[in-house]
């Protein structure tokens, strides 16, 4: 059967129209509008020359990197454990660990406030234990906690998917040749997981870079890049500035996810 091109064309046409009208054209215009401010195309340089933008960019990069490293370490330990062991209650544990995947950033911000805010559980416990009330929800530590919160479920899923493909026979062989458990982890498990780990790191990094809701709810004094864009647009009415920053941010997150996909082929969606 030869492909029926006009029919295939008709079938994809609705999607093409919607995407052209509401995504391709608006995004392309956004790129140009980024260059129409009083500084023209140098607006794209502003991210390096404007100290506030640069500070915001660096803060967001550092935050996202550290969130990624911590989340990947935690999730690898948990994910591997869940893949390699069968025990009572395992399925429920997996469900609970992956539920927060679909929680919006705003809700996660609120959960951080309930945990580490002025009336939070952590403050209550720390006061009983040490006499000091720990309140860190509205600082960078609160943001960090929220970002780790929404990253863990995503990374666990990717690690579990990669872990299921591990060859048990390789490990057995290594053990029978006298390898220590640490050597098995270092020489067999980590290399086999590497593509999955790189992919999940990139997903985690991109999600953290673009996250807006959590920072919005916590209203911290640290301006992450999405908050800076939001402020530029709404408070300062600096449309060109907001546009150029959005494009730069979009490029960074797209690049991170592109690398993830070309290295692993799988993808868990970022959201939040």
């Amino acid at each position: 059967m030869s492909p029926h091109y006009p029919r295939l064309f008709l079938l994809i046409l609705p999607a093409a129209i919607v995407f052209t009208a509401f995504f391709i054209i608006p995004m392309t215009r956004l790129i140009f509008i980024g260059g129409t401010g009083e500084n023209g195309w140098t607006a794209y340089h502003a991210i390096f020359t404007n100290s506030r933008y640069l500070y915001s960019m660096i803060a967001t990069l550092i935050l996202s990197f550290s969130v990624t490293i911590i989340s990947v370490i935690i999730s690898t330990i948990v994910g591997l454990f869940l893949v390699r062991n069968q025990f009572y209650g395992r399925d429920i544990l997996i469900s609970m660990l992956t539920f927060p995947l679909a929680f919006p950033g705003v809700v996660i911000g609120f959960l951080v406030i309930l945990s580490a805010g002025r009336q939070g559980l952590i403050g209550y416990i720390s006061k009983a234990l040490t006499g000091d009330k720990w309140v860190f929800a509205y600082s960078i530590a609160g943001l960090f906690m929220g970002y780790v919160y929404f990253s863990i479920p995503r990374v666990i899923l990717t690690v579990m998917a990669a872990g299921e493909k591990l060859e048990p026979s390789l490990e057995e062989a290594a053990k029978s040749l006298g390898a220590s458990p640490w050597q098995v982890v270092k020489d067999i498990i980590i290399p086999a997981l590497k593509p999955g780990l790189i992919a999940s790191s990139a997903i985690c990094f991109a999600t953290s870079m673009g996250a807006f809701g959590t920072a919005f709810t916590l209203a911290t004094n640290i301006d992450v890049l999405p908050m800076t864009i939001y402020t530029e647009f709404t408070l300062n009415a600096n449309i060109a500035g907001a546009a150029s920053l959005s494009i730069v941010l979009g490029l960074v997150t797209w690049l991170a996810l592109y690398i993830a996909r070309s290295l692993s082929g799988t993808s868990v969606a970022p959201a939040g």
Partner: protein, 261 residues
């Protein structure tokens, strides 16, 4: 012996991580039905806050459901046929189109919202209607529907089935409805659950696209976090969890079932 200790250590670690994720959710649910969060659960249990949320914010809940349903209809209508075409074609152009359609996942919602406002903000009737939010949701959720259906279609031999049906004289639409759609069912279902869940919880785009007349549930949540007492905000969050958790459970059940087959 050593293995047993290793197992226990890992189990304890996993339980700690789990409680990090779940305890705040339980805390929030309890705060929503407690008389006074500051005094704790001993101050009594009440449905008062839930009632207050319903009075203040029921409109946002209806609007979120309405947008989610229309978003589902739209992504089914344009996403499923597109996925079929992309599964059938293996050329460079098809892969390029796929790449473009999944772009909204990779680009922060804020940037997409900004682009929509700059381009279409001038059309006042459109800007102030919930259709404006719907457009954003469609862009954001379509990739999930497309990928989900595409993955299932690519793993079945629908080409051969279609060919044999065609040789028996089945028309294109007969084949589409009796062969393609049934074969893609699990992908469509998984995609549909994902689309509805994401649409109900979407904030990044929606916050920029909404107007005071078109507030969705997450927008209302942000509003209550900023201006309401903790108990009201918690009760509202509880309603959100009650709406979203059945969808998440259904999604997990479905993926377990497909993994086993």
């Amino acid at each position: 012996m050593r293995n047993k200790w290793l197992f226990r250590a890992q189990l304890i670690f996993t339980l700690l991580v789990c409680s990090f994720l779940i305890v705040p959710v339980i805390l929030s649910a309890l705060a929503g039905i407690t008389q006074n969060f500051f005094l704790g659960i001993k101050s009594g249990i009440t449905l008062h806050w839930l009632g207050e949320v319903w009075q203040l914010y029921s409109g946002t809940i209806y609007l979120s459901l309405l947008i989610a349903i229309w978003c589902l209809i739209a992504t089914l209508a344009i996403g499923v046929p597109a996925a079929y075409v992309l599964a059938k074609q293996n050329g460079k152009l098809a892969r390029f189109i796929e790449e473009i359609i999944v772009l909204p996942i990779a680009i922060p919602g804020l940037a997409i919202a900004l682009a929509l406002i700059i381009n279409y903000g001038g059309f006042r009737d459109f800007r102030t209607s919930w259709g404006f939010i719907l457009v954003g949701h469609i862009l954001y959720t379509l990739p999930f529907m497309l990928r989900s259906v595409l993955a299932v279609l690519s793993s079945t031999n629908f080409h051969e089935l279609e060919e044999s049906a065609a040789s028996l004289g089945a028309s294109f639409w007969q084949r589409f409805f009796t062969i393609i759609l049934p074969n893609a069912k699990s992908g469509i279902l998984a995609g549909a659950l994902m689309v509805v869940t994401l649409s109900i919880g979407e904030f990044n785009l929606t916050w920029m696209l909404h107007t005071p007349e078109t507030k969705t549930l997450p927008v209302g949540l942000a509003d209550s976090y900023a201006s309401m007492r903790l108990e009201v905000a918690s009760a509202y969050t509880l309603i959100f969890f009650v709406m979203i958790i059945p969808l998440l459970i259904a999604m997990q059940k479905l993926s377990q079932k497909t993994n086993k087959v």
